[in-house]
Amino acid sequence: MAMKTNRKPMYQRKAFLIILILFAGFLCIQFVRPDVPNPPVTGDLEAPADVKAIIQRACYDCHSNNTNLRWYDKIVPIYWGVASHIKQGRADLNFSEWNKLAPADQKGKLWESVNQIIAGAMPLPGYTAVHTGAKVSAADLAVLKNYLASMVHSKPADTAVINAADRQYQYWQKNKTAVSKLPTAANGISYIPDYKNWQPISTTERFDNNTLRVIFGNDIAVKAIKENKIHPWPNGAIFAKVAWAQLQDKDGTTHTGEFKQVEYMIKDDKKYASTYGWGWARFKTPKMVPYGGSNVMFTTECMNCHKPMAAEDFVFTQPIKH
């Protein structure tokens, strides 16, 4: 009699059993742990103390070899996500191996990082939701921006720069830069020589890396601009962004100096579905050397940088419509 009254209904016993099984499963998967080692620091970022403190606090968990995992980061399945973020984060940018980057690339990475912070893409919102201390405040951002601005120096070009630009110009002027076979990037995109006959849709002065840029659009892109159909851009639209070194003369005018590169974005939401619907390529120097060599992973770099522009179909340029 007593036993009968103490006995829980069937559904309650079942629920208990299920919870028990789930809990056992939860305990078991705790042992499936990818390794997150902290490799030695080969050369740490050097920056003023206040700047470095912000970067360490906001970025170092995923972008250095000094990852500080909290206990709640170590609980599977959260830990799996954490481990993969750290692996990816270090591959894209590692402040502990800062010395492995050329000075120009270090500068470029810093500007890109601050732009990712401004765009709200970094630190990852999911990460700062838990690690609230990693949030970058408006005051922090001002410190970072001031630091970058202090690195900008504008001065008239020296003779070596002028001569290099002149040599390249004369070579081009005599039509010696024409390539017979179109160079092709690892993702199959070839250099498109006709870009220079397209219409410019905007220009940019990049004081972060001392270049001047003109962005050209092919006929499909220009038509889409005229017809207000750029959200999303139509398939077949192509941009070519050309970058030159800045060449400042004594009157304060900054001209296009040495040709650095031409970059393409080719819209095709099916063919390039795996890369945000765009085909990416960059060709450097008048010899049109494909960026990334034979490694197709170069597109990750393109995508990472353009990711904050998802709402604009991954396009930074705001075209000028006349």
Binding site: D208, V242, Q318
Partner: protein
């Protein structure tokens, strides 16, 4: 339990991030030139682009095929039927990239057209100012501007 709450917080925040609708400014409307019969950029190619950091201006020099060819040859001789158009904008900070400046309101559109007149070539210069593209009536200083524009070295576009 805290872990579970954290996971929940992460998921809800990711969801919030996806539905976050920031205003999207697709065009650079400030820098747009008004349509006008006074100038025509259709079919013109880029000869070069430059900025003036002291004045905070950005310029692009356009030209028709004949103008581009002459410019690459150094404009040693001025042929007929060449069209050069120099558009100069004020600059503004690029909202999409800290470290970049893009064109803002238009300052001037300068148009050079060459025509054959008898055995020589006549060079016509017009300067249109401001958003309303007002024709500058004062013709002094025109020859300096023509010299300046024809003196621009083309950008290397391989």
């Amino acid at each position: 339990m805290k872990a579970l709450y954290s996971l929940f917080a992460v998921c809800s925040l990711m969801f919030a991030a996806c539905s976050d609708n920031k205003p999207v400014e697709l065009y650079n409307t400030k820098a747009a030139l008004p349509s006008s019969p006074k100038y025509n950029l259709d079919g013109l190619k880029v000869i070069t682009s430059f900025v003036n950091k002291t004045k905070g201006t950005a310029s692009t020099l356009y030209g028709n095929d004949l103008a581009l060819k002459s410019a690459i040859d150094g404009n040693k001789t001025v042929g007929a039927n060449e069209v050069f158009t120099l558009v100069t904008w004020k600059q503004q900070d690029d909202d999409h990239w800290f470290g970049a400046k893009i064109p803002s309101n238009v300052e001037s559109v300068e148009v050079i057209k060459t025509t054959s007149s008898g055995n020589s070539v006549a060079v016509n210069y017009q300067q249109l100012n401001g958003k309303s593209l007002d024709l500058k009536a004062d013709t002094s200083g025109q020859s300096e501007r023509i010299k300046y524009i024809l003196g621009q070295k083309p950008s290397v576009l391989p």
